[in-house]
Symmetry: C2
Subunit: 428 residues, 2 copies
């Protein structure tokens, strides 16, 4: 057994907080640099967030889209992985206080991402859960599956229908994916299994305050996505914001919509760790970093991924997985240049490799520069891209198998409600 100190020697210490796309890619970029890389995350796994909605909708099991961080980095001899929670950053002493001890750094990379934002209505959180972590996905899965169970047990028609009404708030990629998949579950997966209630009676409503769904895409693709959603049976409502949410439904303008299941896909707020850095933050709490992704006045502290606010070619870099990966790799190159006394790389530039969003069975939209795709072809591109970027051969194979089986049988294999129904469940 060798101690921390012996293994560490006198190498430059790079401390990375967060094992998402940004943090992991920074760690990997430093594999061949003579530094000691320490990656700390509150969780033991890296999560392939683009497929998290599939766990929430019972299509995939959690281990298919998550892998232990120390497994991913097992061959990287200069990498140490710890499971711990960062509580405080002391930039003067160059230390981070974690729940289980203090760690020193020479260079710090903060990559703790973002959570949900309820635009000043944090009281909505309990009735409109969002989707960022595996636990969120299990919670949403439980809510969706229990809604159909409750409808089956309910004898009052109006109350039953309220269990069959689903409102998804937010028309970005996650909202669109959840709505399309829910419609498929209600129409195709569940019908034969219920005796008193009719899953096909479910109403899936997608609410977007802006004028169109998938606002990050070109207008004609937004329109195509809307049409594909409507074809799947989704009630798409754009141009009006939700003004109230409680356990029994939402208010949308003058209208009250009775719905016992409301899902939140509308806003993100940067991780609270950003504010602890003492650097300037934007309205969403993201840290405004310099062109080399370090914070103003402290070249030894970098912020990357969804927690960073930076422009590239005059436009804000979007909070997406490819941007986080690129930032991680870039920061790795900046650190390497410093260690090797090379010239600093040019400021970070985001390379837009295109955008993809899936809607449902063989329905998706894709945009690569001027090339726009929709429908079946876009869906195949989406599928291949997502399977390709999954970590691990086993996961690729199982995900492909699950999708194939799901496609032919309309079944979803992960329809497991964790835990008892309990006496107070549903709690209201």
């Amino acid at each position: 057994m060798h101690s921390d100190d012996a293994a560490r020697g006198k190498r430059h210490r790079v401390l990375i907080i967060g094992g998402g796309f940004g943090g992991l890619s920074a760690a990997r970029a430093l594999a061949k640099t003579p530094v000691e890389v320490t990656l700390v995350d509150r969780r033991n796994h890296h999560l392939f967030q683009p497929l998290l909605y599939q766990v929430a909708t019972a299509g995939l099991s959690a281990p298919s889209i998550a892998a232990p961080l120390r497994f991913i980095l097992r061959e990287q001899a200069n990498a140490f992985v710890y499971m711990d929670e960062a509580l405080e950053i002391d930039r003067e002493r160059k230390t981070v206080r974690f729940a289980h001890g203090v760690r020193e750094y020479d260079t710090l990379v903060v990559a703790t991402g973002a959570g949900h934002a309820y635009f000043g209505h944090d009281e909505w959180a309990k009735d409109a859960p969002g989707l960022k972590t595996l636990e969120d996905a299990f919670h949403i899965r439980r809510r969706i599956l229990l809604a159909f169970e409750n409808a089956e047990r309910e004898t009052d028609p109006a109350k039953r229908q309220a269990w069959l009404n689903f409102v998804i708030v937010g028309g970005g990629a996650t909202g669109v994916e959840l709505a399309g998949t829910l419609a498929e579950i209600a129409r195709h997966t569940l019908p034969r299994e219920f005796r008193n209630s009719e899953p096909r009676d479910a109403n899936i409503m997608l609410v977007e305050a802006g004028p169109r769904v998938l606002p990050a895409f070109a207008e004609d693709l937004s329109e195509k996505a809307r049409k594909q959603l409507v074809k799947l049976g989704v009630d798409v409502r754009t141009g009006g914001a939700v003004t109230a949410i409680d356990a029994h439904g939402v208010d949308l303008g003058d209208q009250h919509i009775a719905a016992r299941t409301v899902l939140w896909a509308a806003g993100v707020a940067a991780s609270p760790l950003g504010a602890l850095l003492g650097a300037p933050v934007d309205r969403a709490g993201r840290v405004q970093v310099l062109g080399d992704l370090s914070i103003p006045g402290d070249p030894d502290v970098f912020v990357i991924g969804d927690l960073a606010s930076v422009n590239s070619d005059g436009k804000p870099v979007p909070g997406v997985a490819p941007a986080a990966k690129q930032m991680g790799a870039y920061v790795g190159s900046v650190i390497r240049a410093r260690i090797e006394d090379q010239a600093a790389p040019a400021p970070f530039r985001y390379r837009d490799d295109g955008s993809l969003a899936t809607i449902g069975r063989m329905a998706a939209v894709a945009q690569f520069g001027k090339v726009k795709l929709s429908g079946v072809l876009a869906w195949w591109v989406w599928l291949i891209a997502h399977v390709y970027f999954l970590i691990g051969f086993r996961n690729r194979l199982v995900v492909l198998m699950d999708w194939a089986s799901s496609y032919w049988t309309y079944q979803r294999h992960a329809r497991i409600v964790q835990g008892d129904i309990g006496r107070d469940d549903p709690p209201r």
Copy 2:
């Protein structure tokens, strides 16, 4: 939409509480009998408990060994499935009060199984979790994986070793399976991934109060199992009971064993619903039923599976899955005979199809009457039997694939700790 009443008509109502092997098999046995079958479970899924230890040790994901009850019974037109929790049984009024309403029955089948028993030491439960439900499996998985994470973070050698010491209490099939698998994880799965600690330093201790492990098997097979465990690196201690358990270890006779992870596989206690029936129960809380599995004085109430205490050929029927299945099928035939005014079947007889227990890689023991197997051959029989009885083609395929990949790579794909590490975790 049709109401409960319309669908029900005037058919004889069979209410089954519990969707384990017993309850599910009773429901299926009544598929072609003109009765209304209502199956109620607190959970939405049937669980293949014989492989639960694989979920606890990160080898399989939950959906591989669990399937929604209503999916399993979807083609059975006379079966209704509800997710609810039974609170009270009124045998005079022939009603059961559930958390979400009261249901009437003409015939009641109680099949709620068993939980953990700590022999009067319920305070041990928090430090020595048992394995009965998916939540138990996730909790144990979390404890095991966090133990290695904590060892990696710990700098004090004695404290580190305490994180690497594992005590499994109880030398039955579950204890043997957990011990063998843990030894494999420590020796083969994890070693390359840790930098400060050495997973191979883990001590896996299996404690059995009786004179031998796997007491349900013949003596020579117990001895073979012990040898196979020792070969895997398990420290097997028989003939001495644990006298104290807390968060820092166990007392075994005069010896204190420092271990931060203690798992309980020693005793089961019948579901509390048995006591609510007002029928005679044995020391373990199991309901003493008559030869036709009904309770004394009430031919309309049956108790089956682990909750039932009954003799067959002068010997107590063991609390195993095949016995529960046979009881379910038998009670189905009793009810059918009554409905069809046929003579009552002969009293229940347990048909012992043999016993199987796996120990580790290619190591198992099997006993079929006078035929005894051990080692590789027993392991193949175990594998084929377990895959065969899994529900669903997809599960069979994925489980086989996971085992094959686990076998060649020593990896375990479900190494996901659910939830944050948290500030107070480990809490002591």
